[in-house]
Symmetry: none
Subunit: 197 residues, 4 copies
Amino acid sequence: MPKVTLEHRTARHDQIVEAARRCAMDQGFHKTTMADVIRESGLSAGAVYGYFKSKDEIVSAIADQALSTVDELFEGILATKEPLSPLTALTATLEHIVQIAERPGGDITRVALQAWAEAMHNDAIAGIAREKYTHLRSKFIEVARRGQADGTVDPDVDPDHVGQVMFALVPGFLLQRLILGDVTPQTFTAGLTALLK
Amino acid sequence: MPKVTLEHRTARHDQIVEAARRCAMDQGFHKTTMADVIRESGLSAGAVYGYFKSKDEIVSAIADQALSTVDELFEGILATKEPLSPLTALTATLEHIVQIAERPGGDITRVALQAWAEAMHNDAIAGIAREKYTHLRSKFIEVARRGQADGTVDPDVDPDHVGQVMFALVPGFLLQRLILGDVTPQTFTAGLTALLK
Amino acid sequence: MPKVTLEHRTARHDQIVEAARRCAMDQGFHKTTMADVIRESGLSAGAVYGYFKSKDEIVSAIADQALSTVDELFEGILATKEPLSPLTALTATLEHIVQIAERPGGDITRVALQAWAEAMHNDAIAGIAREKYTHLRSKFIEVARRGQADGTVDPDVDPDHVGQVMFALVPGFLLQRLILGDVTPQTFTAGLTALLK
Amino acid sequence: MPKVTLEHRTARHDQIVEAARRCAMDQGFHKTTMADVIRESGLSAGAVYGYFKSKDEIVSAIADQALSTVDELFEGILATKEPLSPLTALTATLEHIVQIAERPGGDITRVALQAWAEAMHNDAIAGIAREKYTHLRSKFIEVARRGQADGTVDPDVDPDHVGQVMFALVPGFLLQRLILGDVTPQTFTAGLTALLK
DNA sequence: AATGAATGAGACTTCATTCAT
DNA sequence: TATGAATGAAGTCTCATTCAT
């Protein structure tokens, strides 16, 4: 019966990652001990090590999740909305980010910050971050291209560069939200409206 | 003997912070051990603890430095240039950031990322980050105000909100530069040119 | 598996306390390092800290033991012997103390002296000492009361005060035995015989 | 001018011992650091080490002082009072102990307890304690002899043994006073009156 | 598969003592 | 002589990981 076992394995796996995420959200990756994860997951040390070879592997899994969540939701947005100006795309993104951040389970964007820092000296996480953010940014590049096709964005500029700027606003918004605490999609959209062509 | 001693103390203090910064740049705050800092500083354990009460205090000192460096240099820019459009201000800022990042001593912006993560669960660093970034952002708000006075920025939008967006581009640029590695002041300025009013 | 585990835990706990007691007997609380206790117990650092949160907790456990041993044995004496004059009670107590002190494991009364000193600036041990010695002294007060009932002790004196004096002879005996080394239950009983009513 | 220098040396020496005594009174010998002594004495590290070769030497000096103080004062009592029953001698001693203990500078009897503990594993202090307490006890033995001469003490008992018992009451009183806090010369004398022949 | 007690390297920090000035 | 910054051995405790049951 491979199905049941697989489901069981997946459930256990997620149980561990969720526990670790909750810990990392409050304490960061480094203050979170394996004992914390074990306690929070309700499993035993041996069980946890049956699913992950090391703490590093768990950290990578949380980082992957934290860096993906924004991505996944963002994709949805871009896929549906048709005539998509940079302003509209950004506004929709920020609103979704806040929705995710305010989920009952805790603010996963805090974990994304941990992942950024970790990527500076952890190759596995650097790889994940590169992959996820390259992908996310490609969506903004796509918006830039559409804008150029629509005539709303200067066609002489490399859409990659336009995408860089649009994408930059996402971590810039996140960071201000977490550290200064006074930005909202509304205030940010207002500022964008004043600045964007 | 106040003069000599004070200079001496300051030199030693800086010697330790510099050593710690080099370590944190390579390894992050948490993988950096006191033994690393002690070895790198060329002092003894006791000497280091004569200048800092704990590792946390050293971390705060590095974080302060990392979050200040951009600030200081940025201030210079804004003070001098007179007719300052958002685009000009941002371009100048990014160029300075890259100048700082490429200094021989190592890229201090990597440490800034560590500080962002640390601010999530370290009140001292959260305080420093809040203070430094509130101040830095206020400069962009000032630029927005000048733009409104000049008629180049929509006067009906709260300049605080415009400042939020301009400021957001700084960490957004930094993060892409460090993680994706393909942004430069030039590419970014090109993208900005296409997007900004 | 509660039974086996509980026994096991108790055995380990005692193994650590015994090891620590042996160390403290030779070196005192402060010269005894955790490394000493770990080596002497035959366990690992982690194992020891699985049973005690800190060195202080181990010290309290040894102090408790050292201050209790006299107490326990003394209670036995008082419970059985019926017509109990102060002289008889004291003689029996001293003989028991020496029996305990000369046990193969080492002289635990040396640890009691450490505990007295420690009680001066360690609230946990001060509390233990207060509790144990209040209890022990209450036995002597009981002897005083019986003496008053029997007509062998002046009924006009507060039995608490009589108990203070009787109890005082115990540490007085211990201290002389350990520092001057020339008192025995026999010499002491002889002196008591000459002095007591 | 050797006199001035000698006075100066003595003053400095005492200054250090007093400082160390104050520290040891509050914290015990082991929690007292050389830094504490240096700060409290108002001298420099080098200066302190000009007078004492090591912390151990300072500890011995404080222990000597603590074990002597009772001794000195006690001698005075015994020298003057002529017809001296054990009860009288003891009462006078306890009153003097409390006088000393309640001096403004702090309760030096707390330091005596430290010295007892230290004597268990410090030969220098064990030697001092032996010497001081042998001497102090000899005074009680002298009282016993006088009692035997006066016919108030049983002449068939070795006066050394009577002295052991009388002397025992001194640490017994001290310990109760410091740990249980409810004995006074008055309560103790009352108890003694009920018990002594 | 699961358990969780045990491991032990290594982290942070202290403090008695020295010595160049 | 006096200073006090510096030394570095040694102390307490943690925690990722393993393995006998």
